[in-house]
Every structure is written in C-alpha cells, then in structure tokens.
Symmetry: C3
Amino acid sequence: MFLREYWYVAALSTELESRPVTRQILGEHVALFKTESGEIVALADSCPHRGYPLSLGTVVGEQLVCGYHGFTFDCAGTCVAVPGQDHIPSRANVRSYPVHQQGKWVWIWMGHGEADYAKLPSTPWLVDTENWSSVVGVARIEAPFRLLVDNLLDLSHETYLHNGSIGTPEVATTPIEVEVDEASHVVRVYRHMKAVECPPFYARTTGLVGQIDRWQDIEYFAPGFYLLNARIAAVDDPPHADGSDDHAFHMKILYGLTPSHDGRVYDFWALARDFCVGDAEVDVFLEKMQTAVVQEDVDALNVLQARSENVPEVTEVSIKIDRGGLAARRVLASMGEPRPSK
Amino acid sequence: MFLREYWYVAALSTELESRPVTRQILGEHVALFKTESGEIVALADSCPHRGYPLSLGTVVGEQLVCGYHGFTFDCAGTCVAVPGQDHIPSRANVRSYPVHQQGKWVWIWMGHGEADYAKLPSTPWLVDTENWSSVVGVARIEAPFRLLVDNLLDLSHETYLHNGSIGTPEVATTPIEVEVDEASHVVRVYRHMKAVECPPFYARTTGLVGQIDRWQDIEYFAPGFYLLNARIAAVDDPPHADGSDDHAFHMKILYGLTPSHDGRVYDFWALARDFCVGDAEVDVFLEKMQTAVVQEDVDALNVLQARSENVPEVTEVSIKIDRGGLAARRVLASMGEPRPSK
Amino acid sequence: MFLREYWYVAALSTELESRPVTRQILGEHVALFKTESGEIVALADSCPHRGYPLSLGTVVGEQLVCGYHGFTFDCAGTCVAVPGQDHIPSRANVRSYPVHQQGKWVWIWMGHGEADYAKLPSTPWLVDTENWSSVVGVARIEAPFRLLVDNLLDLSHETYLHNGSIGTPEVATTPIEVEVDEASHVVRVYRHMKAVECPPFYARTTGLVGQIDRWQDIEYFAPGFYLLNARIAAVDDPPHADGSDDHAFHMKILYGLTPSHDGRVYDFWALARDFCVGDAEVDVFLEKMQTAVVQEDVDALNVLQARSENVPEVTEVSIKIDRGGLAARRVLASMGEPRPSK
C-alpha cells in the first residue's frame, strides 16, 4: 500500500548524535543510530528473540545491544552475540536498510531490492554550507500522506492558515501555472506575484520594505520530496538574461514527506537561504517562524483527518488553484499509490 | 437513529459572542456563529472544498470565511467567494440550519423539512429577566442520550450522588406519582415532600430554616427538553385556591438533552428563580453549586458508559422509583427512538 | 479464556483501609472493601439496578450502599434495602467472591465452584513479622499475562533492563537448570552464580563487599504465583549439611500475576527479607528500588504489547536461557490456557 522503491527522509542528522531513534516508515519499524566511528545505520526495530524494539538498546562501539536480553547486532544486522551461549542461531539476524546522509538530512531506501542511488533527490543546499545557511525540523502528523501532498501543492492556504507569517492576500488570488513531467514523476507549480506586500517572514530577513516581486516555484518529486524555490526581489527586477540572479534573495524550502503508516506521515522540513549566510540570529528567527507555520499545518491536517473518520464520505469541490494538487494525485496514482475512496 | 424532527438546544447565547463554535448534534457537525449585525447562524461544519471545519474560520461581517483556503459563505450557506477566480461552482453551498434564540439558550432545528415552530419548547424564565434570574451552563457527557434521560427522570439519585448539595434522605424515600401524555410526548413525575430538611442548595438562597415542604414536579418533553418545577415553602402552606403562590419560592431547573452522536450527549442546563432576582451573589453561588452537581452526573454517566462497553450485557432490576424513567423510555420508543439492547 | 479455578492476588491489605477498591480480574469487575468490623469482602462490581459500580458506593457498618440510587448489600451480596419501598426483588443480589487475607496480600478465588483452599499458595514471609520484614506494591501492565510470565521466568533480562540495580553481567551468562513438576504445575529455575559482583540492591542492605555467591531459585506456581528465593552469601560458604543457613542473607521475592482482562495484567509484588528485620530505613530503600525495577518491567512490557498490536506476526528465536519461560508456557498450555497465535 506504499510506494516502496524510493528514498525517503528518515531522520535529521542531529537526531542521531546520542541515542537510537525509532521511526515507523511505510509501516515498518526502523531503528536508526550512529556508531562510535560515525557510521549511520538503520536496522529493523524488532529483536528476533522476543520482539523488543532494538531502538531501546545501547550502542556499544559498532554494535547495537538489545535492552531486554542483550542480543547484539552489527551494522549489517548480523547477530554477533546472545546471552549464555556461544552458538548463535542463524535466524537471529535482522534486516539492515540502506541509508544515505546528505548534510542535515538522512535518507533511507525502503525498497526490497538494491538501493537505487539514481533516485536519490539532490539537496545541495543542505550540504554547501559556504553559500547556503539552513535550519531543519520534523513534525509527525496524524493524517495520511495524501493530505500533506494536498496541503503543500496548494499554497493558496498560506493566505488563510498562515496569515501573519508567510500568507498575504496575493498568494490566494494570483493565478498559477502547472507543468507535469509524467516520466520523471515531477509536478511543477509556478506562482509569480508582482508588486505585492512583503510578508513578515521575508521582511525581517531581507530588509526589503514596501512592495516586492515574490515567486513561488514548486517542484514536487513524487512521492517523497518537495522543493519550493522562493525568489524575493525588487519590483520588475527579474533574473538577467544569462540566468544570473545575484540581485534577488533565494530560499529553498524543502519537505521530506515520509509516510509512517496508513494514517500518519512525517513532515521533515528544511529552509536554506543564500542571504544572511552564517547569521545565527536569522537562523533562530526562521526556525521559530517555520516551526510555527508547520504546526499550523499539523493542526489543520490532524483536524481534517479526525473529522474524516467520523463522516461517511467527504465530497470535494475543486477549483483552478487545485490543479497542482490534482496533478500530484494523478502522478501518484500512475506510480501505483492506492488512494482510498474517502 | 436519532429523532430528527425536533428542536434541540445547540449553544448558550454567550458562547457565540466571539468565535464560531463547533457542535456535533445528532451525528452532524454544525458550525454556530453570530454575525457582526447579531444574527445567529448555523451551517454544516465542513467546507465543500476539502472538508475543513468552517467553525475554524473567521466571521467577516455577515459571512464566514474558511480558515484553510478562504471559501466564503453567507448566512444561508451560499458560497459567495472562492480564491483565484470569479466563477463559483454551484456545488459549493452548505446546509444552513434553522436556529432560534430564547434568552440564554439557542435552539436548532435538526429536521429535514421546514422548521416546526409549534414544537419549540417554551422557556419564558430565560427571557423574562424582570421576574426571573437565571444561570446557565453546558457539559458534554461520554454516554448516550438515554443514560441522561434515565438519570433525570429518577431523582432518587440526588440522595446518594448529590448528597451535601441537593440530596436529602427524603428524595429517595418519598413515593412518586407518574402521568404520561402519550399524544404530546410528555412525562410528568410528582414528588411532594412534606416537613423535610432544607438542603444547602435552598437553605442559603431562601433563608428558610428548619423543616420545609419541598415539591419536585418534573415535566419531560421528549426528546430534548426537561423541566423540573421546584417549589420550596413553609410546612403546610400550599398554593392558594386561585393558584397564586407568592408565599413560596420557585425554581425552574431546565435541561436541554442534545444527542451528540451515538455515545455522547450534551447536557445543557439552566436554573431560573423567582427570588433574590438580580442578586449577583446568589447567581455565583447557584452556578457554582449546579456546576458541581452536573459534574457529579457527568462522572457517573461516563463511568456507567465506560463500564457497559466492557461487559456483554447489563441486566436491570427496576423498582417503583423507576416508573418515571420507564415511562420516558416507552414514550421515546413510541416516537421511534431505537434503544440498543444493552 | 482464563484459568478460573485458582486463587489470585486481588489487593494489598493496605489498599482496603479506607474506601472500596475496584479491580477487573479475569475480565470480571470486582469491588473489594473492608467492613467496619474488619471483614474483607469482594462483590461483583455492578449494581443490579442500573449497573453502577458498587465500588463507588459507601461502606456503612457491615454493608455497602450503591452511590447512585442506594441499593444496599451485605457481605454475602444479598440486597437488604432499596429506596422507596420495603419489598426487595429477589433478583437484586450480587455475586460474592471468596477472599483470604495472608498478611499484606489479599487473595481471591475466581472459580465457579467452592473455593479450594488446598490451592491457596503459602506466603508465610508476609505473615511472620518476627522473622521477616517485607515491603509490597502493585502495578498494572497494559500487556497480557503471558508477557509477564515470559519476563519473570527469564531473569537474564536483569542484566540489560535492570542494570544499575539488580542486574550484573553474570545473571545473563550463568547457565540455568530447569525442573518441571507437571502434576503440580510448578516450574523451577535454578541459577547459582559464584564469586560475582554484589549488585547495589544487596550491597547496601547486607553490607557485603567484594565478591559474593548469589543464588536465584525460581518457583513458579502456575498460573498466579511466582516465588524467587534469593540467597546471598560469602563465596564458597554454602548452607550446612543439615540445611541450616544462618550465615546467608535470604530474600523472598514474590509476584502475584493476576490477569485483568485479555490485554492487561496486575503485577503484585512483595520483598521479604530475613535480615535488617524491622529496619524502616531498609524498608524505604527496598521499596523505592523495587518500585523502580517493576516500573522498568512495566515500561518494557507496555512497549512490547503496543508494538505487537501494529505488526502482523512476531516470530521468536529462542535460546537456552528461555528454557524456563518455555517450560512455563507448556505448563500453562497443559492447564488449558489458550495462547494467542501472536
């Protein structure tokens, strides 16, 4: 019931500094940890002995020791010790998942076959710390993956759900353009707002006053990665003909959409900017602002899901601003994602 | 599964002063709000766009704006604006429910047809503020409607559940008389206690000391309205032959029994008195006292319901004091209310 | 679905000093209370009138009065009063359960027939306060009975789950011996550790320093009683040939395993010692220490159970240390306990 042969964001790199972390991803319980030498490892989070979560165990050197009876595993998931005897049953190994760290995010391959690194999304803005500063976070939403896709593909909700931070009237009223690359499973939504009010989110960080041009160019790489290319500039000051655009402010707003199980999704986020690079005060401001924005989304989707469980059927009336979200649904359906009737 | 063609209490008038209120009534989610001009409106609490609760939206003038993507509705439930386009889909309207304010309570008509104002219960004591002072409140009970009917129709429980406030030994021991008006769906239960102890609830407000005559005359207008006519007077000092009764203290104890969904009910209450009219201190005392009494009922019914979910079948042994409750059950059954076997 | 014809621990004696206690045992709700004369009584915890829990009622003399409408019961469960009338319906009696106090624990017979006192476990250490001091407690676990059996029969988990208090490396590595008395439904597990580190639990109370001999001799009397005979002594200083063993420290660690319903179990515990008898400071230390140990078990079993509800099937890889637990499962199965497939 999930699209398995893809990479998903599994953890923030900082989460793995101390103790193991447990995540349920595509329905599977995964224990993530970092060994003493710094290797990041993901094992099935269930001890073969009595089913205790390995994530409650202890990292000792390059191994993970179960916290209930001490079964011990190496980074490949091979059981290397059991208590009270030298013989180790051959059935005592656990699945190891391919993982890949890209700066502040750790990705996991949930497929049954070999990890396909050609499918790994590129996130240079979380790696190139010289030209980009970033803040990251994660929230868990008690709603299915598809509600988060709907949310992110239709940014007109910023005007209403996030007014006071990133939402202004023009986000809802500006027409969008939608492009679909069906072969690559990419949906692009363009919204170019001209001579509009600068929202607090950008006003404080860019120092721009009065009206601006504000572009929101979405690239959704189905199923698990969403990139919002934000461009903020003076009015009528587009990129140069050669593509250079140093006179504008750019923010890359990344989301890792990781289905947890049928009714839950992890909402990983990252904000990378090419201005105020290295400014810790701006980091703090943006992290606080974005945490509040994400919480507004979390609250809304939790409410939507709780409500949908109590009603027989939700009918939908779609309009033009929904073309991005509807395109994303079609792409997901073409990839085999089953969409429940409600 | 509910008796729909009736009026139910939906809200306290004071609840609608600021933001919209959500209520689930007879299984249906309803958004209640007051417009800037003061009109009270009830709309289906689900936006036709993506199902977001309209009760989380914002009242702007005479309209309600959805908090997710801005679909906007007038008091009749007609969609008058959607973001990003002028054309409004005809399917974008929502149901509007007839509502009627009577003093401190707001009633809603949940029927499918025209609102039948002849069925609207009369509550003059919440309107005539010259001769009556009242306090009101509401509690939500995690138990079905029928358990609240049982509770209110058998006041012998006052002696045990509410001792220390309104319960004295004689409430349980005094025989009752029961009358049923099957055509009008009214059950009347009379309990006239003679020369009994005055409970703290009345002693502090009436100033009566020593023994009193205390009458409890219930009128249950099935399904949603319950009126307890309480009369407190000196011993052997009944109403005059012409019906006048100025030498007694009267309290009208009103309950609005509003089924929320299968296992929940709203317990609206009001206490109106014809003594100490306008005395704010007595208001505070009675509101605090009644809030505690209602909470004792809420706790008891929540426990009863939680317990009943864990046992295969509850058998009942009924006695004479149950005649009022059993009559109410029969009336409800005659109206078509399905009673679960347990 | 439970083994009914046995005694189970129902309460700590101290729990019954003031108000009635409710317990769900083998799926049945039981009200336990002590009368004014000191008799301990267990009645079905549901009033025949409207199903209200009798445990919420009031003890008056030798009777229990229902807190909703005042139905009143004697110690045999016979209804002796109802409100408003003299005639008492014959169907208004409730079941009374045989109970038996042994020092700090109260046992209950859950069988349908006569109580079989020959089956009552013997716990002299909770009664003989001259030679033994004890501390007791109870925890409720959101996991089935069988997970607690697994936990207690395999003490190798002390090394990992309880390290820092009672766990040392040798508990996991020392081989065990297992004996099964199938006729009496007793499983015995012996673990004799020689010249090992004294864990904090015993070091502070016995005053022993350096290495010790530490014996853990389990006797599990299926289904509901578990006795761990702990012996702590200097190295190579076994009991004398005549069985006398005054030069060692003994602790009796008792568990009452009382199934609550399908997915819950009560974990009654008692620690009795034949050293530092009457030392209140040692009482406080041991009670605090054991409460923490039990909480570690509670947390682990709650996690195991929550996890098992989300996965289709748990496979198990058993090793030599599991022989005690596997023997207990076989004994329980021979007694008719149904074990769910997962």
